[in-house]
């Protein structure tokens, strides 16, 4: 039947890899994709603008909160 061939074994392993490692990956980091990366960078006095945390003031990447808030923007003033 070919179930023991290296190709079939690899295909079955690849299914497990895809299902468990890849298929739900975007969902796991949906806060990052919705809000961007500004939570990585602390506000600094050396920068001309401040980078806000999320609406609750929490670090958006360490919080267990599931809801996704809208992308926050900060003004650059006149450019």
């Amino acid at each position: 039947m070919g179930y023991g061939s290296s190709r079939q074994i690899a295909a079955r392993r690849a299914l497990a890899l895809y299902e468990q490692l890849c298929a739900g990956r975007a969902e796991e980091d949906r806060r990052f994709w919705a809000e961007g990366a500004h939570g990585f960078f602390a506000p600094s006095s050396s920068t001309p603008y401040s980078l806000p945390l999320n609406e609750t003031g929490d670090d958006p990447f360490s919080s267990g909160q599931q809801s996704v808030i809208s992308l926050q923007r900060f003004s650059l003033g006149s450019m």
């Binding site: 690899a10 690849a14 497990a16 895809y18 969902e27 980091d29 990366a37 990585f40």
Partner: protein, 249 residues
Amino acid sequence: MLTTRLRALPAPHAQAHIQGLIDHFFLDVEDRIRQVLQPHSEPAPPDPMTPTSPSPRAANFYDTLSSAPPPKKKRGRAPEALVSKQMKIFREQWAGLDVALDLALAQGSDAVLAAAMWRNLLGARGAQGLALALAPMSPVPEFRRAVNPGGAMARMNTATREREERRDDGSGVHDFGPEERDAYVQFPETMLVLTAYVRGEIARLAAVSDDRVMGTGAALGREAEGVAALRFNKISSAKALVGELLDGS
């Protein structure tokens, strides 16, 4: 990233694993495309003989689907022409991202890797400059998007391509207008984080032995053993790496 690790397996396992991964990936892509494009139909009483969705994960993938009430009747079939068109687009995007990531890793260039992130994950927004203010004679922002230069676009002349860049394809991926210009500020940060994340995950997977990647072999029903230990870290794991990069700069 996973493809990169699988490619390092001994032959013929490398090719077989990569082919298997691609097969399952595009089967899932097609399944999701059909789910999104299925036309709605009138509600009908539930059929007890009809099994429930075999893939609750897929049903939750898109916000619009998650928030919509569950259909009471099986929806119609998605138009085959649209499914085929989307599959071709995704195939081009997958091939483009794969080559771009391989090139960046082969060259060892973080700049090339960041550029691949910008083109593929940030929609190549702003490719022809940033619209910081309204044009003098235009009361509304000019619509503009980056088009994939491969595939059918490669055969278009300049005028046709420019016209295509000004056509809204409904994907929602297009350049930010002047009123949204601040969003571009996040692009370098996002590219830095994703570059650090990819580098970190590639290094993590490289340290995993071939035996752990390939699993227990021929034993039916045990294909998933050890896969959980290979799970990707969350993007937030790159925070420390980004900090080290910034401290060292």
